[in-house]
């Protein structure tokens, strides 16, 4: 099992904030909008550096999405920032018509996604956002896994023409992707080569997948670990190449099974190479208050669950 030393401990939202700060310096077309969550989204530095290119819209997310769509008419590249729930379900029709259908170059940047938002509870813990966003034609959907990858993704999406949904989170997480790893939209990252089982993980589940890989190696199971940061367009080739070798797959994500990365993978398998798959994801349930670690354990999204899923899917080969 390849070693992934922990390079630090930071929240992915800080990766977004620092990426945006860099874009503020490097790309004069980039503008940012926020719905009263500047601190939570780590957008303060961009605001301080570029007050004329920062738009505080207040608690009015629908208006924010519309203004962002309008700003593209005139050549701006708007980044909107609020919690994932208010970035998606609250404004789905605005995104659908004014951004996706109109194919506007808007970057919808969403923090506090999933259960790891923690104590605020289910009203804020959106677990359906990947599904909603990936269903929209024209939309690119990205869920990076650590601070470095989130920063790189933030910078990369400014150069991509078209609507993007960028999803990240609140808690501090280990940094394990090196800062010089290039971020290529739609390209999977092979983290570990293996032969017995493929584990595909996205977002906050990538680090637990690496930990699961270590534990499986100690049990004599060779896990191939793939980081999918771009859920749409999905790197089908990387997935099919891996399962051709391992014969089974586990998908792991902080999202509902319905609509998630695992569902996209199941579609690829059923069309090309039907093989057993296990889903590490939330199973048709809302979240609740609790610490991130407690919630990930209770809802079956931690390292032991990935290990168990890998062992189970191998028996189904």
């Amino acid at each position: 099992m390849k070693e992934y030393p922990v390079l630090g401990n930071k929240d992915t939202r800080s990766g977004f904030g620092d990426g945006l700060t860099e874009l503020g310096k490097s790309n004069p077309k980039v503008v940012a909008l926020c719905a009263d969550l500047t601190g939570s989204l780590k957008m303060n530095q961009f605001e301080n550096d570029n007050p004329e290119r920062f738009f505080q819209v207040g608690i009015a997310e629908a208006n924010m999405i519309g203004i962002a769509a309008g700003l593209t008419i005139g050549g701006k590249i708007p980044f909107t920032g609020t919690f994932a729930n208010f970035s998606t379900s609250r404004v789905y029709d605005q995104i659908r018509q004014s951004v996706a259908y109109s194919n506007k170059n808007v970057k919808i940047c969403a923090s506090h996604a999933g259960l790891t938002l923690g104590e605020d509870g289910a009203t804020h813990q959106v677990l359906e956002d990947i599904g909603m966003m990936k269903m929209l034609p024209h939309m690119t959907v990205i869920n990076p896994c650590d601070y470095n990858q989130t920063k790189a993704a933030t910078i990369a999406i400014a150069d991509h023409v078209g609507p993007v949904y960028l999803r990240f989170g609140r808690p501090k997480m280990p940094i394990f992707i090196s800062e010089n790893t290039p971020f290529v939209i739609g390209k999977a990252l092979l983290l570990n080569e293996g032969t017995d089982v493929t584990i595909v993980a996205t977002g906050h589940l990538v680090w637990p997948a690496i930990e699961a890989g270590k534990a499986l190696a100690e049990k004599g199971i060779s896990a191939e670990i793939i980081n999918i940061h771009t859920i749409k367009p999905l790197d089908e080739e990387a997935i099919l190449k891996s399962v051709a070798k391992t014969g089974c797959i586990v998908s792991a994500e902080e999202h509902q099974i319905a609509g998630g990365l695992g569902e996209s993978i199941a579609q690829v398998l059923s069309r090309n190479n039907p093989l057993p798959q296990e889903f590490v994801a939330v199973n048709d349930s809302f979240g609740e208050s609790g610490s991130p670690a407690e919630l990930m354990e209770k809802y079956g999204l931690d390292t032991p669950n990935i290990i168990a899923a890998a062992e189970k899917v191998i028996t189904r080969k």
Binding site: E52, V57, A62, G70, L71, G75, S102, K104
Partner: protein, 283 residues
Amino acid sequence: MHDTSLIELSDFCSQVRRDIVRMVHAVASGHPGGSLGCTEYITALYQSEMNHSADKFDMDGKGEDLFFLSNGHISPVLYSVLARTGYFEVNELNTFRKLNTRLQGHPTTHEGLPGVRVASGSLGQGLSVGIGAALAKKLNNDSGIIYTLHGDGEIQEGQIWEAALYAAGNKVDNIISCIDYNHKQIDGDIDDVLPLGDLKAKWEAFGWQVMEMDGNNMEQVIATLRQAKAATGKGVPIMLIMKTEMGKGVDFMMGTHKWHGSPPNDEQLKSALSQLEETLGDY
């Protein structure tokens, strides 16, 4: 304004109205009522008051005035005016609402129709988009003005009021919005569905400068638009409350909400066309 140009604009409107009823009749679907009511306004913008370029459409519209139709269901009037202003061939009006057309039921950028900069149809979104385009103009030091049009029923949508707060609070003063106040929506009279109350007082309370006009009186429309343009750049967004008659120009379509989204049959078309002079040639 010279009388001759008023006559020309009036002739243009008559032809646009013919186009509208013929378009919706041809596919037995579409929204003639609001289209007929807004004919003077859209004509005044594209034929007289907006600084725009029909022959080389550019999405960013730098240096131009831009119009956003937020109540996208009145697409027939927009399509007719755009075509007859030179954005695309007038014959293309033939394809309205048909398979593979660029003239979708509601306006969209998806098929690349020149003159359309954002999709509309799901109501309440165009004011926000217009504000965004206005902010981009300010960032680009572009003196162009943004125009938006909304149905009166449409402003029952909450997003409109989010946008209203934003524009006034942030001194977006390069936008001239307009409400088509025909007092009717699909289910009936506004007052029976969801009353708007004192519309002028509401927009003024939100910090907008409000001007009122008779939207079916071309001279008044032109004069009010010029007054509105002169009032831009003073720190306040501008709202035109435009009284119109739904179905204007076709006697049996006026005074009722029933022609909001209903096309005429063959006989009704004949009657409608007999009331509207063919001035520029039918497509």
